[in-house]
Subunit: 318 residues, 2 copies
């Protein structure tokens, strides 16, 4: 539990909670969506089921004057199938009003609402899902200075989102981050890659991106990590960076090569070190990656919902 009082808590009017798979962040907010206080809790959603969701929730809001009338808006895994209560996905295209309309109340607690994730279907009838990022997208929509044609949310499962006019049109998921983990931990490549805690991007990352950009294909490119290591032309310290470059580069190449021309920049919403890797890969294709603060966007997204519900004052932007 990490308590940091940033302001006078007496002006609090609502609570926003970002309930992730392993971490929960609760914000005490005022009518202008200013953060008055923040509580964070490391708790896996599996443990929430064991401990009881209400108990965990009470821990989160401890010391705050939250009554049965205080609006509490929750996004993320609390609404998943294995969460507090399932909030079935809202279908794309969707904006803030669609998310509000599909929100659910856990245990019939009227003042607590859990936002749904989003689902969509591609031309071939294949599904895709998002949960958590949809709220960050609402936050992004508040920033009118950004043209939101294509957005990227890098992560274990990277999301590529098409959006316009405050609306998520479509998206798809790539398993880039998870694949990096699988290959470095469990594959034959593991013996070529040093276990390093550094997140700094080395020169070999660029080599990986360059290889990916030539379009030889991921299935072939990744084996070069092993073969080049066998010939001592790739040392274990660089091998992880090279693989990361291949994966992120393939992800970006696949995305931008199917785009019509004219894309100038892509907002990036995700862990900063990974977003920076995506920005470097994007720059290889002449596109600027704009690294954004994911937490800030989540709060802006929760505020967008609160505004829609009349809890927060109308901004000049939206």
């Amino acid at each position: 539990m990490n308590n940091k009082v940033t302001s006078d808590k007496s002006s609090a009017t609502w609570v926003g909670i970002d309930w992730g798979t392993t971490n929960i962040r609760a914000y005490l907010l005022d009518a202008s969506a200013r953060i008055l206080d923040k509580h964070t809790l490391a708790r896996h959603i599996k443990d929430c089921n064991d401990d009881g969701w209400t108990t965990v929730y009470q821990t989160l809001i401890e010391g705050w004057n939250v009554t049965d009338e205080t609006p509490v808006i929750i996004c993320g895994m609390a609404g998943s199938k294995f969460g507090w209560v399932e909030a079935p996905y809202a279908s794309c295209p969707a904006g803030v009003s669609d998310l509000v309309a599909k929100a659910v109340h856990p245990d019939d607690i009227e003042n607590i609402m859990i936002l749904p994730g989003l689902c969509c279907k591609d031309d071939r009838g294949n599904h895709d899902v998002i949960r958590g990022e949809e709220t960050q997208l609402l936050g992004l929509f508040e920033q009118s200075s950004l043209i939101t044609r294509l957005i990227c949310a890098p992560g274990t499962h990277t999301k590529w989102i098409s959006a316009d006019n405050y609306t998520v049109r479509n998206f798809h998921t790539t398993m880039t981050g998870e694949l990096f983990g699988l290959l470095t931990e469990h594959s034959i490549l593991a013996q070529s890659i040093a276990k390093s805690s550094s997140s700094a991007v080395g020169a070999k990352f660029e080599d990986g991106v360059r290889m990916a950009a030539e379009g030889g294909g991921l299935l072939a490119d990744i084996f070069k990590v092993r073969a080049n290591s066998l010939f001592n032309e790739l040392n274990p310290e660089d091998a992880g960076d090279f693989l990361s470059g291949i994966l992120v580069g393939t992800d970006v190449f696949q995305e931008v090569s199917s785009l019509d021309h004219g894309l100038v920049s892509v907002p990036l919403i995700g862990p900063k070190p990974l977003s920076e890797r995506y920005a470097r890969a994007l720059s290889h294709f002449g596109i600027e990656g704009i690294v954004l603060d994911a937490e800030e966007l989540t709060i802006a997204g929760l505020a967008s919902v609160a505004r829609q519900m009349g809890i927060v004052e109308t901004s000049h932007v939206a």
Copy 2:
């Protein structure tokens, strides 16, 4: 140990051994490269190091009249870095004489030769390696009826080989099989895929190939296994087949889309069920996959080496 006498062993003149990572197959052969007897042994190369290679070798040839003069030709992992003795890779382009020239003798035993693998470099300076398949390729070269422009050896690490005029020109490795294993065992997709022992190819395999053929990219396609499962449009029994279709389809698509036109058929050398999947994926692109017997080709390849050394009579073909 599996002993099956197929003929009179007294006409034996040499021994061929396919020494794989987990399985060893030894053949007693005559001057026409006919198999007189076969011994197989399930022994990991790690265990060979513990037990002693000479001991394992003695077990393999037990009951055969093998003297210090009997030529013994070994291919495969016995020549790897962690094998009996390292046989450094021969560089492409390479044919049978190059393999013979780079063969090594373990423990200075003159009558035993271990064949090297092959290495090559692509235009960008990236390395690749083969060990074991090079002998099957020599075997394939004996079959003059096959045009050997592009050859595929499906497996944990699939090899795509360019060859002509009895010579391996170039090749590259794709991690298709290993990736299938990683994703079905360790990834988020695992919970969507039933553990099935059936190797029969279902309809969903074709769906996966079709998706891959549209070129949306592997990183995105594989997540559809999960998302379609979430919406009950893919059941656990079919999900593995769908994933297999995506992976094999991507591998084949990546290969044939970069080819100049006119490729009619591709010889396939590998485990039969997997080769059949590659054949189905190839047929989707209008190319005939010719499923070959990998063991037969290995023996033909060992015989090709034996012929080069004057141990086996010259055939009409080579």
